[in-house]
């Protein structure tokens, strides 16, 4: 199918937001009836690119050609009229309405209810997507909800169907059904632009893959002829060089994780499977891996949000795995989760209140449960000063801060409490370069003071810079732990893909 005619030609698309270039000169072709993967890490510019194709965002420069005619949709409706449909990662369905009513709501000219129900049945049978138009959406599983969205698109006979990370909410069985449907669609001539960062899926499904990194196209390749390792390398980039570091002497083991297994509290989360590692005083352990492979769960298990058997997590030789967050904090185990608003900080509360959130006991901001507001404000101000948080003052609501500034506050709040063990997920996400450097320096200073630090990050450059040893998470399992010094990009790609993934790659190739 690779030699068929070009459906959508993308040429030099560029889109810049204040402070960040989301897409820079991206060009590639989507052919009629192919499944084309768009591959890249978080923040690589995948979403912005498809939003331009779907008419949600206007490109700054560059052109698109659809079936030989210029294509510049001003809004999604124009895109749909030209035969471009999109299934979003997050569904927009009304729970209280039936499948048919929901589908009718999303159409420009919905047919009569009876005709629509018949059409829905036809399409759902043709493409092997079992779905009863009379059912109420509230009772459907995530996979069935996705089918509603897909059928809504298919009823408009699209020539190009965009799917944004469709498998992130599906069970393995549902993924199989979806893939069958997509293959059938492609065989009938509908092109599919498939966005994902899951390498196996792309190798199993896609005819071509375009890889984005930092807003630029890295390559367009044929996934079935490329190993998962090569794909991962292209996605991650080979552009970093390990920092030269002096031989450091580490102290005793401070954080010990032994056979840690835990079910994710989130239905679509990744459960942790038999993770073991040790972090010594003065050491920074970097944990990489593609997002959604257990990073959030690992942080939760270390912070105490998920409790486990006591001896799965030990601190200075004392088992703490069964303790909730507060006693762990008092002992000196502090953490900063990835999601700033809503998890690390309460959006509508002031910075002072957000300082109390984690620092109440350890910084003595309360006495027998009674809060000391002047002291709390003083501590919040200390964090604001030390980490250069740009805000009118500690009375400002957390949600009023920019992402980067709130990140500085959240990291600063923990660092200023002098942790003995510090676990942080995505420490510099969305932070400008100077602030990122300051945060990394603060992490290194903590280690130099004798703390054990675990840095979880998607940014491999960052991990190479701050970490002494490196490991990767893959589907809730942890790879071998290797010293960062002398680690090659090849090896990192292998660790991130997971060894079992590589086996499959060789068989297929």
């Amino acid at each position: 199918m690779s030699d068929s005619e070009v459906l959508l030609e993308i040429k030099g698309l560029t889109k810049a937001y204040p402070g960040v270039t989301a897409n820079s000169d991206v060009s590639f072709d989507i052919r009629v009836g192919e499944v084309h993967a768009l591959l890249g890490e978080n923040g690589a510019g995948k979403s912005t690119l498809v939003k331009m194709i779907y008419g949600l965002v206007k490109p700054d420069s560059g052109t698109m050609t659809l079936n030989g005619a210029p294509y510049a949709p001003a809004e999604p409706r124009a895109a749909r009229a030209s035969g471009v449909a999109m299934v979003f990662q997050h569904f927009s369905l009304f729970d209280a309405l039936t499948v048919a009513e929901n589908i009718a709501l999303g159409m420009e000219n919905p047919p009569k209810p009876r005709d629509l129900a018949r059409q829905i049945r036809e399409v759902s049978e043709t493409y092997g997507l079992p779905l009863d138009p009379e059912r109420t959406v509230g009772g459907l599983s995530a996979g069935e909800r996705q089918r509603v969205e897909i059928i809504r698109c298919l009823l408009q006979d699209p020539r190009l169907l965009i799917m944004d990370e469709p498998t992130s909410v599906l069970t393995p069985q549902e993924v199989e059904i979806l893939f069958e449907t997509l293959r059938k669609l492609s065989a009938e001539g509908t092109a599919i632009l498939y966005i994902s960062h899951k390498l196996e899926e792309i190798r199993a499904l896609c005819d071509h893959a375009t890889i984005l990194r930092l807003g630029k196209k890295v390559a367009t390749c044929t996934p079935s002829e490329t190993t998962a390792r090569e794909l991962a390398e292209m996605m991650v980039g080979a552009s970093f060089d390990a920092v030269e570091r002096a031989e450091k002497a580490f102290g005793d083991v401070r954080l010990k994780v032994a056979g840690l297994s835990a079910k994710s509290p989130n239905e679509f989360g990744t459960s942790l499977k038999d993770i073991s590692f040790e972090v010594r005083a003065g050491e920074v352990l970097g944990i990489g891996g593609v997002a959604g492979n257990g990073q959030d769960e690992l942080l939760a298990a270390l912070s105490g949000e998920i409790t486990t058997a006591a001896d799965m997590v030990s601190f200075d030789g004392t088992p703490v795995g069964a303790l909730p967050p507060e006693p762990r904090r008092t002992a000196g185990i502090l953490s900063a989760p990835e999601e700033r608003l809503g998890h690390a900080a309460a959006p509508d509360m002031s910075l002072t209140e957000n300082a109390i959130l984690t620092a109440a006991a350890r910084e003595g901001l309360m006495n027998k449960g009674f809060l000391n507001w002047p002291k709390s404000t003083a501590f919040a101000e200390k964090v604001i000063d030390a980490f250069d948080v740009r805000t009118p003052g500690p009375g400002t609501a957390a949600r009023a801060l920019s992402g980067g500034n709130l990140q500085k506050f959240v990291i600063g709040r923990e660092v200023m409490q002098n942790p003995e063990v510090f676990i942080v997920n995505q420490p510099t996400w969305g932070v400008d370069a100077a602030a990122a450097a300051a945060i990394r320096q603060a992490i290194l200073n903590l280690a130099a003071r004798g703390a054990a630090v675990v840095v979880i990050s998607q940014d491999l450059d960052e991990l190479m810079e701050v970490a002494d040893r490196f490991a990767a998470l893959n589907e809730g399992r942890m790879s071998d732990i290797r010293p960062v010094q002398g680690l090659t990009v090849d090896e990192i790609g292998l660790m991130m893909g997971g060894a079992h993934d590589m086996e499959v790659a060789h068989v297929d190739a």
Binding site: S303, A346, M366, L371, R399, A400
Partner: protein
């Protein structure tokens, strides 16, 4: 075109002003409603808001009523507001109020005709426990089985009403009552009566308890870590878990507390203004308190003022029925409008209105 633009943080000015704006809007729209009913609107509004306090003839009777009505409303609303802050929606205060009254009155009647200073305090404790126990049913079901506390607490109101009907014509029926349903009148049993502390003010122990509850809630919410955790759990549940708050504890605490306060309110009512357990001694305070809680912005001092205002519309409404022949339902509609306008004007707290063209997408 009118656009709503989200404010970076809630406006303090509008938080304070919206209740006043809501009252004014209610007066205006309510006035139209009264006019449509063929009654003089200005006079109706004056009768509701002004006459209960300052009418030469009626004020002597209705002024004490203000505290009598406001006391239970405030007491219940304080308990509810703490739960609402945590995102726990106890809609069944009416049931907890009834069960508290039954438990407390039951203890008092069990001692009859003994006289002792200890009886009334025991009744208060029993009342609180009765309401607490009724509140713990939705709490335990929610923590153990994840049931919805809104539905469970609401449905338990109807169970409580059936229990009330049963005891007032059975277990607690006055043996000397010539067969009429209803308990002995506690007003006539000195050790159990909740009498006025200062004559002709309406000030009874329930009002004192309401004021204590206001102070307690204020200290809890603004000075104590538990109050902080309650608000955190309501605003950002994930952040609360990260901070180490255990959701089950918050649920048990909030439903237990609001149940206990509602139960106490029921006891003070049945031992005082109402006097006896009858099939319909409860007058919907448990539901009206929900309005009071929101009208007071879930803030203790706000609830104090809102409780007084709501009591005023109750008394004024009765007066308007009496003097102008307004239908009782129109008074309820009037109170409903108050909540409606409050919620509607609430938009200004978090959003600002911008007129004219929105920016081109």
């Amino acid at each position: 075109m009118i656009h709503l633009v989200k404010r970076p943080q809630p406006s303090r000015f509008w938080t304070a002003v919206t209740p006043i704006l809501a009252v004014l809007l209610t007066m205006v729209v309510g006035g139209f409603m009264f006019a449509a009913l063929g009654k003089p609107p200005l006079e109706a509004i004056r009768t509701i808001f002004w006459d209960p306090l300052f009418h030469e003839q009626f004020a002597a009777y209705s002024r004490p009523q203000l505290l009598i009505k406001a006391g239970p409303l405030i007491l219940i609303a304080i308990g509810l507001s703490i739960g609402f802050r945590a995102g726990i929606w106890n809609i069944g205060a009416e049931g907890q109020y009834i069960m508290g009254a039954i438990a407390g009155a039951g203890v008092g009647l069990a001692f009859y005709p003994m006289e002792s200073f200890i009886i009334f305090p025991l009744m208060v404790i029993a009342g609180a426990l009765g309401g607490w126990a009724w509140g713990m049913i939705p709490a335990v079901l929610k923590t153990k089985f994840g049931t919805n506390e809104i539905l469970v607490s609401l449905m338990l109101v109807y169970v409580a009403e059936s229990v009330l009907a049963s005891v007032s014509s059975g277990l607690l029926k006055n043996p000397d009552g010539m067969g009429f349903p209803g308990s002995r009148n506690l007003q006539q049993y000195d050790s159990a009566a909740n009498l006025e502390i200062i004559p002709n003010t309406g000030m009874h122990w329930g009002v004192v308890a309401a004021f204590v509850a206001v102070i307690f809630a204020y200290v809890l919410l603004t000075r104590h870590i538990r109050g902080f955790h309650i608000q955190l759990a309501g605003q950002a549940p994930r952040a609360a878990r990260f901070a180490g708050v255990r959701p089950a504890r918050i649920i048990l605490f909030c439903l237990g507390l609001s149940g206990a306060l509602a139960g106490m309110a029921g006891l003070f009512e049945v031992a005082g203004p109402s006097g006896q357990i009858t099939i319909d001694f409860n007058s919907g305070y448990g539901f009206t308190a929900i309005i009071v809680a929101f009208l007071g912005r879930l803030h203790p001092v706000g609830i104090l003022l809102a409780g007084l205002l709501m009591a005023l519309t109750y008394i004024g409404g009765e007066l308007a029925q009496l003097m102008l022949g307004l239908p009782g339902a129109s008074i309820q509609l009037f109170q409903g409008m108050l909540l409606f306008f409050l919620l509607a004007t609430d938009v200004f707290t978090n959003y600002r209105i911008r007129f004219g063209q929105g920016e081109a997408a």
